[in-house]
Amino acid sequence: MMIELKNIEKYYANKGVKSYILRHITTSIKQGEFVSIMGPSGAGKSTLLNILGMLEEPTYGDYEFMGENVLSLNERKRIDLYRSHIGFVFQAYHLIDEMTVAENIEAPLLYKKIGSAERKSRVADILDRFSMVAKRDLFPNQLSGGQQQLVGIARALVAQPSIILADEPTGNLQSVQAIQIMELFKRLNEEEGMTIIQVTHSEINAGYGSRILHLLDGIIKEDVNLK
């Protein structure tokens, strides 16, 4: 089992009043699944994804990632864990503006302290795979949104994570580009067995996955298996 959530709760206490964002979330995600989290605005989708990505901590509950209890880890261990296993893709791409395409992709490898030769070959590899070799020295603002998101995905993949967390990856894209990105995710999932969790509003995007979690007011209303 890749991810085990037990009774995850998240709330903000404000003057004694608790406002819940997530309630009693219990689920598990297996290696190789392509899960879409859906729901209306304010349902807690992004918070759930952030908790999965260890960017946020739940107020209460248990979270095991590949058999390890995440919440008991200290910051350094947690960083180590997600550095080696998790790749993030954001709606707003969040590329570093001052870095070129190649440098953006290389950045996570630097933090993993991977040798220069291997870094070079991995970056070259992935640029090749995404057909972006010609754009390697361009800066993010010289690319279209779709291309930027491709770089974002390449950056997530280059560290060879076990799971990709994507927060509305196509939210800022036009439909043609969105389809390309979703096709890419699907291929990654089917051909390479990559575990993917995405947050999305769109039924069509969710259709590319293997499973949908419907969230409403912080509770899992429905867990649909598409296969």
């Binding site: 992004s46 952030n50 990505g53 960017l55 946020e56 350094r76 960083i79 997600y82 550095r83 993030f88 954001f90 707003a92 969040h94 590329l95 570093i96 503006d97 001052e98 870095m99 440098e103 290389e106 950045a107 996570p108 630097l110 933090y111 993993k112 950056r155 560290a159």
Partner: protein
Amino acid sequence: MFRLNLKIALRNLWKNKAYTLINMGGLAIGLASCMVLLMYVAYEWSFDKQFKNNHKTYVVYNLANASGRIFSWAWTPGDMAPDVEQSIPGVAYASHSSYPEDRLISYGQRNFKKSGVFADPSFLKILDYKFVKGNPDKVLKGVNTIILTETMARNLFGDEDPINKTVKLDNAEVLKVEAIIEDIPKNNSIRFDYLMPWALNVKVNPWMKTNGYEGNFCLTLIQLQDNNYFERANAQIKGIYKQHKKDSNSEAIMHPLSKWHLYSNFENGKSVGGRIDQIKIFFILAFCILLIACVNFMNLSTARSEKRGKEVGVRKTIGSSRKSLIGQFLLESLLLALMGMLVAFVLLEISLPYFDELLDVNLSINYSDWRFWSALTGLTLITGFIAGSYPAFYLSSFEPVKVLKGATIVGNSSLSVRRVLVVFQFVFATCLIICTTVIYQQLSYIKNKPIGYQRAGLIEMPIQGNFKAPEKLNTLKDLLIKSGAVSSVTSFSRGLNEDGNNTFSVEWPGKNLKDETLFNFRFAGLDFVKTIGTDMISGREFLSSSDSSNAIINESAAKIMGLKNPVGTMINSQGTPLNIIGVMRDFVIESPYYRARPMIVYHHMREVNVIIARLNPAMNVSNAIGKIDEIIKTLNPEYPVGRKFVNDGFEQKFQNEKLLRTLSNWFGGFAVFISCLGLLGLALFMAEQRKKEISIRKVLGASTTNILTLLNRDFIRLVVIANLIAFPLAYIIVNKWLSAYEYRINISILPFVIAAVLSLLIAILTVSVQSVKVAKSNPIDALKYE
């Protein structure tokens, strides 16, 4: 990793050129100011330290007890050095030497009035001057010999080899050149152009031989074998006066040579500082300016946090640790500090000649000195680190989720830290403005204060060579007046701006026996009062040579003597009975900041040394000067004219205050400028932070003026707070500074008003540059981001 960080840092700086320029400019000015001040401090600190054994060398001070008060000066008897060398254990060398004095030195047709010193061979053992030619062990042993500095030798001999050639001293003694030494650097307390044997001094002044411990006319230097002997030697030398002269009221102490320059003030026989106080101020000033430049940097860097925040968030999510982020931000600030240092370097090289002239020092960058480079590196690193520390820790603390979600990341705490920093900057700047204004006021007050005589149009020149004969002097006087260049001529025993020549031994009827008043005494020629443009309060001035047993006293002397009718009273000065024939108005001889000291003026033409002449106002100055020079040249061809304007000499008295004024002016200006950059940073930050609030207000109907008031009010409050803190602080400082002067201005409200208005005005202007932009921006741009 490092390379990438470096590359990104550079790209970042390049992308935000305006920001980089402001930041770098602030740091550069801060660093350059700091370095100039530090170099000046180092220069003052380096005085007399280039001698190998300076740490075990001492200057003997004479502490003379005059009815309870102890006067201290470094003048000692001629016999002291040999006595010390013989009788005190642990003394390696003791030397006596004269104080530098200008004398005429000539070779063929070349005449120079340059300063020379008489010294014994030990002098060169104690102070190891660098010999260019000649053997240091064999010089100063004869009588008619001389050692020249390189420049002196070049002036006299040109390209000839001076060794074994002869020069003439005061047109009398023929001296053989024994050796050439390197020029004496400016940071030496004892400076001269040539050095002659002590034996020559004794030959010219035979009384020195038998003077014993009667007169104090030498500088005595002592070098110990090592400093362990100091306590004992100092104890032994204490009683040396009484040992040789039973009724002496003097004691001797050893004052370290290395402290001579900076710790030259004595109070009741104890060393109480001196120039060191000023040096300390400059030292503190140096770091304060650097600090406000760093504060600036912090302000500007954190101001851009919104922009950098996203980068921090992304980096953290792709696996960066906080440590590596801190490293990256520090790298950026170090890079800026380095760039600032490069610019500072250029500024420094450009401004050094100016400061050299201003401060009359010789500051230069010694590129081969490792200490210079390590100070430079140290300063850059410290600046980069201090400036970068707060932004680095602050920026790296952002939580990625919040940043990436676009929530406001900026807490209020960081803002208040920055407010405190800006207040600190402005307190410093306001203090400097107030101090500068007060220094200006005090200087102009003293300068415009009547000094008791008309110093404009007054010239003076030394009585030398032919003019020593009274007939020649009379001829000169006649010729000068006949030429129409001057309207009247007189003579005086010292220059009008020179101090010295004073005595305790003045007796008058009804004098209290315990009274120990120090009187100045001078000798004046005829027409003295008329020429210098003062007047008599009662009685008359000297009219003829028959007045040689008469005296004129000044107002202060009359007051101290408490005489009802001073004219006609008999007094006794230094054993000479004198009849007072007049009382003249007080005039400034010594410091214009103090009441004139009581003075007695005798009439004795053998004792006068200076000709004083008033230029004829009917003739234009350069014409008159030309005529005077011509007449003097014909009558006294062997000597340089040596004519000076009394006004110039008077200006010299303000040297210290002028220096302080100029420095506080410059560095105060810099401090204000840098503080404004800091304020601009804060304004940028506030504008960014309040973009949404302002947009909403505008959508709700606020006008541009409303928004401007809203934004500027905050800053005005900060500056007002800074002013309130600065006022008492500045008051204490200027009050302390002024209290050292007897004649001083009352601290008025004016400097404080100037400082307040100036700081507010500058602040509002600076802030408005930014707030106008924000107030005029389209609200939709800010709001649609949500």
